[in-house]
Symmetry: C2
Subunit: 150 residues, 2 copies
């Protein structure tokens, strides 16, 4: 399975939303209407350092996606960070090595953007993903907190 990662185009948004929903947690969180997702895609583009990436197989099917945001900051001796969000691989392709290709792509983009660190958070319920990230050299050193604004 050869998967190529590239920046998403607006025409990819429906496929990305389908991947976000094809997930044990995402199924309950995503919606049917496309309009808010298209607006979010445009907002990401305007933000400049916030990129939606898709993985395409040999026949042009979108089989994976992730979001990467480059964040400059003063801490850690002024290190720029690459933050990864919204990682998904099509359910019929999990365990086929797509994640390895994806994170090689993440690291290449992070280095090209001058980042010294890659960071991500994972819902603690995703026990299999934990082993995957540790196998890539990530350290589970942090606790991730979320607060919805009502």
């Amino acid at each position: 399975m050869r998967v190529t990662f590239r920046a998403a185009r607006i025409a990819d948004v429906p496929a990305v939303v389908a991947l976000l929903a094809d997930d044990m947690l995402g199924a309950a969180r995503e919606r049917q209407q496309l309009e808010p997702y298209l607006a979010a895609f445009e907002a990401m583009r305007d933000e400049g350092t916030n990129h939606l990436i898709v993985g395409e197989d040999e026949v042009g099917r979108i089989v994976a996606t992730y979001q990467v945001t480059f964040i400059s900051g003063l801490s850690l001796a002024a290190a720029r960070r690459a933050q990864v969000e919204s990682v998904r691989v099509a359910s019929d392709l999990r365990g086929a090595g797509v994640g390895l290709t994806m994170f090689a792509d993440v690291e290449a983009r992070a280095r090209a953007a001058g980042c010294r660190l890659v960071q991500l958070t994972m819902n603690a319920a995703r026990t299999e993903s934990r082993r995957f990230y540790q196998s890539l050299g990530f350290e589970a050193s942090h606790v991730g907190f979320k607060k919805p604004l009502g």
Copy 2:
């Protein structure tokens, strides 16, 4: 103790670096030369959605700092997030309620930027901070992974 939060100016950078270093983990991580920090401050400004905030007391001393980045994205029904990093309060003022004022400021800025979620990660060694974030209504639902790029 009345602390007012505002966007940092370049002249605040030395005080922010001093706060970053005045910390159980930051002490070993920050450096003496100012130049990389000034460059990171300029890079943050160029990124547009990435803000360094300082808390100033009545006599103009910088006693607290945090960084907030507004991140649009497709997941969670196209929710924009506010991500908080590099939270510090001057060591002589910890426990005096500055953190409460700070997070009221975080939430006000996040709402003004159209965010539906505030997120942050905390090194698992900061056991006292964990209780503080939970008292503010944050849920420790995620595991935070980091990987340095060698």
